[in-house]
Symmetry: C2
Subunit: 354 residues, 2 copies
């Protein structure tokens, strides 16, 4: 059994903020429903994930934000700066928006080495260049030593929607689910350099050398689908909580069930080794350059053709289908022939990956 | 002599981040010039203050962000939540943009009382309602106890520019400077509830009871000027570093000098008392509901008439003029007849006010 599925849901107290409230599971959903939704009710759906769609003087825009608190600041394959650019770019892309402008706000802890800041800012510049976005505005605050954690970056992004906006409400029974590539690299890369997780000991150092974060901009993949004329119903990047959380959220919002095929799921050799040794389920591991797309069933061949022409999604495969029965449920047909329910995580005991 | 003017500029080391890098003075400007500007060069001007102006499908938009790290979370007249809404609304208004949409990203520290979070989120809802903006998207992260400071909020804002965008480049010799009201309430309100600053002892508790933050949305004041047909060249809210920093920044950017009249400067009785007792200069104190407007000289009467019809700017007065000589310099004609240079602060030893 895998760790994510074998843990009973812990009781999350609601009188104080706990780490579970920042996870991808039930506790954070509870926080959203009891604290944020009652206050920001008018656009409550938009608070749950990714970006909001707004209209300005004839233009249809997407607007999104995310704070990046991943530790350590530097990890195999990237930095918190790459994440802060690509993560927000991807949230826009998942709305079907062409990413255009980013803001960047820094909360720096007194004592942060200037060299670290320079390296991360340079990584942000390079990531913005690769993603085709411009960082147009920013802010810097400094907090006293011991009141922060080196650096927190919050980016917001604005993009333009030139097609029908992608959203869970557009998903319907009969639609196909496509996953853009192999799973789990970002989560394992972060774990491989975190102290106290024991992965070094368990994996005997093998993981450090081989697994790099998959952080990358997803817009080129999305753009390829639009240009091929694919009717893209909904997309989600597979970040905190991984594929399992993304599918559960969409099944609940679109009020459908989703049936996926374990055979279609790819993980790299090193990620698979790490998962087996650590008893982790790649379904719940974070990715920063992977997404699922829900498309009309008839569009699967051209969606796959389009995705496979783009580097970041060259490993795209057909993953499963949307069903009418058992609404809200995600099920997985396993390699051994059985079928099991893929739950939402209760908490998030793993290190923060974004 | 006032504290701000009598301190020699401290040498700021550039190998590590210090609190001065987060202030409104020379150190933060140095950080911008040496770290951020080289990386984000294309739109470097926009990184210095307030918002960026971008064009999307025929619409002219302003886009801005700020992190709010003011301590304590609750202070006389407001909360960090009010600040996070009004501050970003005001940055948009200072571009001449009608504020429309906000994002809100929370970095919460494990152990934060849920009641504090609820109260602050409620304050944000109320402030957004009053300012006429909608919080359309958000994010929540939780960091381990000891890796944060209760709560950091980062808001970003998007607004629409329906007039000529206000910017320092539009300021020219002969223009008039208007200040929208009395100075220093926010700075003193924050200091009155900070431990270890000695203000309680010095002021014998008198300040706590009487000075409230001036946090408020400024768009109604700006809108009134536009509706009266005023040619608004440039505006700045008088936040970190106060009036002195705002005028110095504009004088340097527009390459003009600015001559202001001390007689025109108002401070409330309690703020004045606190400044005298603490040897502070209200020119450098933070405000969260005050701004300066640079307007064509001929427009002064109608600008003042328009501003005085709106609650937040009912105390608006003519403050001084823009000159050609001594470019980059800000001078103040004092009550006693002399003239002195108003410098940029070197650091920011006062508590963070935003």
């Amino acid at each position: 059994m895998h760790l994510r599925l074998s843990c009973p849901a812990p009781a999350v107290p609601m009188d104080r903020i706990t780490l579970a409230h920042g996870g991808a599971g039930l506790a954070s959903r509870q926080l959203l429903e009891t604290v944020f939704r009652p206050a920001f009710a008018t656009h409550a759906r938009d608070l749950t994930h990714d970006g909001a769609v707004v209209h300005a003087a004839g233009a249809k825009l997407a607007f999104t934000t995310d704070s990046y608190v991943a530790r350590p600041l530097f990890f195999p394959g990237g930095t918190v700066g790459d994440l802060a650019v690509n993560g927000t770019v991807n949230d826009l892309a998942m709305c079907g928006a062409r990413p255009l402008w980013l803001s960047a706000a820094f909360v720096l802890e007194e004592g942060l080495p200037m060299g670290d800041l320079r390296a991360i800012v340079t990584a942000m510049r390079d990531a913005a260049g690769e993603a085709g976005v411009t960082i147009v505005t920013g802010d810097t605050k400094v907090v006293e030593r011991g009141k922060g954690d080196g650096m927190f970056i919050t980016t917001a992004g604005v993009g333009i929607i030139e097609h029908t906006a992608a959203a869970p409400e557009r998903v319907r029974p009969g639609d196909a689910v496509i996953v853009s590539g192999d799973l789990g690299s970002h989560g394992v890369a972060i774990m491989s350099v975190r102290d106290g997780l024991g992965i070094d000991r368990v994996c005997d150092g093998a993981v450090d050398a081989s697994v790099k974060s998959d952080t990358a901009p997803l817009w080129p993949a999305v753009k390829a689908m639009y240009e091929a004329g694919v009717d893209v119903r909904c997309m989600r990047d597979l970040t905190r909580g991984g594929l399992a959380s993304a599918l559960n959220e969409i099944a609940a919002t679109a009020w459908v069930s989703i049936d996926i095929d374990e055979v279609a799921l790819e993980t790299g050799t090193a990620v698979r080794a790490a998962c087996e040794l650590m008893d982790l389920d790649p379904l719940y591991l974070a990715n920063e350059g992977r997404f699922v797309a829900f498309v009309a069933a008839a569009d699967v061949p051209r969606a796959l053709d389009a995705l496979r022409t783009v580097g970041v999604s060259r490993g795209a495969t057909f993953l499963g289908t949307v069903e009418k029965a058992h609404r809200g449920l995600v099920t997985l047909r396993s390699r051994t022939g059985g079928s099991r329910v893929v739950d939402l995580m209760a908490g998030d005991p793993l290190p923060k990956t974004r």
